[in-house]
């Protein structure tokens, strides 16, 4: 039992503050209190600048696309139209892919799926801004990196179905992709673990005098893990050539960002504490994302050290197929989100500069749809999840070690016997 404490002086009673999101089911969301600085207003320091000079940007917001979808200000990456169209197409593909695979899960074709709806600009544009040889240590909403880097959709689906086309032999939960050739480190179910790993890879690159850099990814909720701290500490200490991205989509399953500390500071501000260069970026603005990652990459490549980037965005759908957000947040939040939809914004920009039109847009959407359907057909030829887990029992016992020790071989034989 808690000790009874004699009442002391006239000290007021303490009270625990438990953060509460502004809206709950039944409320009408109104995000007008969120400060959205005008596009183009954030200054762009030189990439070689001292880390502390970037720190005012931790509470600012790097934005390029203004209300009229014009690219403005010093962060405009001045990309050619082909690059912009590629990013747009990637985003559309990701959204279509997400919808199909979400449905596939609902149809019982697999056990689990996670969308990144509303956050498509972040991964696709970041991928475009890095070199193909650079590596990503992603978390589970960066499917856009694979799409951007040209990883076959059918391979993604085979992973989701755990079918024979999955080079990981069906061992990982759906969407836990991995591909070395595409610089996409294996996703872990354990939040945050990839963050110090990205730093370690970058340290290795520096140790070997290489020029490749790494980018680590984490969600707003997962920043609370100890691994976040070790990543930031090691990155700062060794001046590692790494970009540490935090995707602040406002929610971590049912907990809003305030439960991760978002009421008291921006996530970008964490970087200040370590003396790391820091940017806070409109995550629904593909141009801002590109410019920020490019800036950080230039900095890292010239041995000027790590950059921490907060991408400010909104998780427009449920956490995963296991989640129903209507139980904890107000309907219509995604629609009221002040930073808009990343696909619509880039589309409007391209149209505005005369490089795009509605027709071509419905065409790429249709094409994406066709491409995704075709991939799905092909993937499903190799099977869906409920059909798996029978064809190669022996495979379960491989790859625990490079060589199978006797005890695992015995267990394999027992399992094979069992299936007879």
């Amino acid at each position: 039992m808690a000790d009874k404490q004699p009442s002391r002086r006239n000290a007021p009673a303490l009270a625990l503050h438990v953060p509460e999101p502004p809206f709950r089911p039944g409320d009408t969301p109104d995000f007008s209190s969120i400060k959205v600085p005008p596009a183009g207003s954030a200054p762009r320091p030189d990439t070689a600048v001292a880390a502390r000079e970037t720190h005012p940007l931790a509470t600012d917001l790097v934005r390029v696309l203004d209300e009229d979808a014009k690219a403005v200000g010093p962060w405009d990456p001045k990309l050619d139209a082909d690059t912009l169209r590629k990013i747009l197409k990637d985003m559309v593909t990701v959204r279509v892919f997400d919808d199909r695979m979400y449905r596939a899960q609902r149809q019982g074709k697999t056990s689990f799926y996670m969308k990144c709806t509303g956050e498509e600009a972040i991964a696709t544009s970041a991928a475009a801004a890095l070199d193909f040889e650079d590596i990503h240590f992603p978390t589970y909403r960066q499917q856009g990196i694979l799409v951007s880097r040209g990883y076959p959709l059918v391979k993604m689906m085979c992973q989701i179905y755990s079918n024979p086309g999955d080079h990981m032999k069906g061992r990982q939960l759906p969407i836990m992709y991995s591909d070395k050739k595409h610089g996409f480190f294996t996703i872990s179910g354990n939040l945050g673990t990839q963050y110090p790993q990205a730093v370690g890879w970058a340290m290795a690159s520096a140790i070997k005098g290489d020029s490749r850099i790494a980018m680590g990814w984490v969600g707003d909720g997962a920043t609370a893990e100890g691994d976040f701290h070790s990543a930031m500490t090691f990155a700062a200490v060794y001046n590692a050539p790494v970009i540490l991205a935090t995707v602040n989509n406002q929610w971590a399953i049912s907990s809003f960002s305030g439960i991760a500390g978002g009421e008291r500071a921006t996530f970008a501000q964490r970087g200040i504490g370590y003396g790391i260069a820091t940017l806070r970026v409109d995550g629904n603005d593909a141009l801002a994302v590109y410019a920020a990652v490019r800036w950080a990459a230039e900095r890292a490549r010239s041995n000027k050290g790590p950059t921490m980037i907060e991408f400010f965005t909104y998780r427009a759908e449920g956490h995963s197929t296991s989640d129903d957000p209507t139980g904890y947040r107000a309907a219509g939040e995604a629609q009221s989100w002040p930073l808009g939809d990343p696909i619509e914004r880039l589309k409007a920009h391209l149209i505005g500069i005369g490089e795009w039109d509605e027709e071509r847009h419905s065409e790429i959407t249709k094409n994406a749809d066709a491409e995704v359907r075709a991939a799905q057909k092909e993937a499903e030829k190799l099977g869906i999840l409920p059909e798996q887990g029978k064809s190669d029992i022996g495979s379960v016992f491989e790859d625990v070690y490079a060589d199978m020790p006797w005890h695992i071989a015995e267990q394999r034989d027992q399992a094979l016997e069992e299936q007879r």
Binding site: D227, V400, Q414
Partner: protein, 337 residues
């Protein structure tokens, strides 16, 4: 009597105890407003307020670490680790602090708290939503380790755990939250309502820690099991018409050695079932104890039915899971020897 599934029973245990003891505080990832991803804490924040039931940052180390401070203050934290697979970032605080506190201070500070966590596989959760790490806790002196197998026991054991003066790791086999899954994954799931242990008394009662239950009496062989494996064992025994004595350990530490010894002395044979990987699993400790204490009664080596020494493979869940066939083979072996 109310009929409950395991989640409802666990939820009810919280409510009963929070009403009785104002020092109980419940927190963990998503446990507050939403009531937890498995809904074990549903309604607690509403009834007891945000100061007694709240969401925590995604930091298992922080959750356990702050619970240590709260217990030191005099509160009784009942915390949830969302999946047992995610308990490792809190492992240092559990092993180095929670477990050793009473000992290192000779009782000056103690750590009454319950660390609840859904555990085990069978839900296609892949490598990181399926693990059974109990032996990583049974090795740590100072911790009690509990694994319930029915709604009745879940409520009674959880209340006992909350009332216990020492820290309790409370692993909830999530595969049996909704029904007594017996390993026949190809058959329809039986809901708890059809099992008599779904009758859960209202209000306060306890199932004492450290007491096993003989869930089936038998003469030919003793089966030691806990959690989901109790139901798999029972089904295998019925399927194969073996007159086995099935013991549900319920508490792994401290163990009810008497019940085990008596049974093995009677049957002369022993099989142990665990879902966890084989090597250094808790079954090894059980087998060792049985052969140490009942050696001259044993007519055959103590057998083990276990998960494999691999991570939990998503698509090959039913190759991994120790189901009726593995149980049958092992039973046949221990009976034949």
């Amino acid at each position: 009597m109310p009929v409950m599934n395991m989640i409802q029973a666990i939820n009810d245990a919280h409510k009963v105890m929070m009403r009785r003891d104002p020092d109980i505080v419940v927190y963990g990832e998503d446990v507050g407003f939403f009531g937890g991803v498995f809904r074990a804490t549903e309604g607690l924040q509403k009834e007891f307020g945000k100061q007694r039931c709240f969401d925590a940052p995604i930091s298992e180390g922080g959750i356990v670490g702050t619970a240590v401070g709260m217990a030191a203050y005099g509160l009784k934290p009942v915390i949830e680790i969302q999946f047992a697979d995610y308990i490792y970032p809190g492992y240092d605080q559990i092993v180095s602090e929670v477990a050793k506190m009473r000992y290192r201070t000779a009782g000056e500070w103690s750590m009454p708290m319950v660390i609840r966590s859904p555990y085990g596989g069978g839900i296609f959760g892949g490598q990181t939503h399926s693990q059974s790490p109990e032996s990583l806790f049974t090795h740590i002196a100072g911790l009690k380790v509990v694994v319930p197998s029915t709604p009745y026991d879940a409520k009674g054991l959880l209340i006992a755990a909350i009332e216990d003066p020492d820290p309790v790791i409370f692993f909830e086999p999530k595969r049996i939250y909704n029904g007594p899954f017996d390993g026949h994954h190809d058959r329809p799931v039986t809901p708890w309502a059809r099992h008599k242990a779904s009758e859960v008394p209202e209000g306060h009662y306890t199932v004492p820690l450290g007491k096993a239950e003989i869930v089936r009496e038998g003469e030919e062989v003793t089966i030691l099991a806990y959690g989901t494996m109790v139901h798999v064992a029972l089904a295998a025994v019925e399927d194969n018409k073996i007159d086995a004595e099935v013991i549900d350990l319920r508490t792994l530490v401290p163990l009810d050695i008497e019940t085990i010894e008596k049974s093995v002395q009677k049957t002369g044979r022993c099989l142990i079932a665990q879902e966890a990987p084989r090597t250094s699993g808790f079954a090894s400790e059980l087998a060792t104890l049985v052969q140490e204490r009942c050696f001259y009664n044993l007519e055959a080596p103590v057998g083990r039915v276990t998960g494999w020494d691999t991570p939990y493979p998503h698509a090959y869940e039913w190759t991994y899971f120790p189901g009726p066939k593995r149980m049958k083979t092992a039973l046949q072996k221990v009976m034949a020897d």
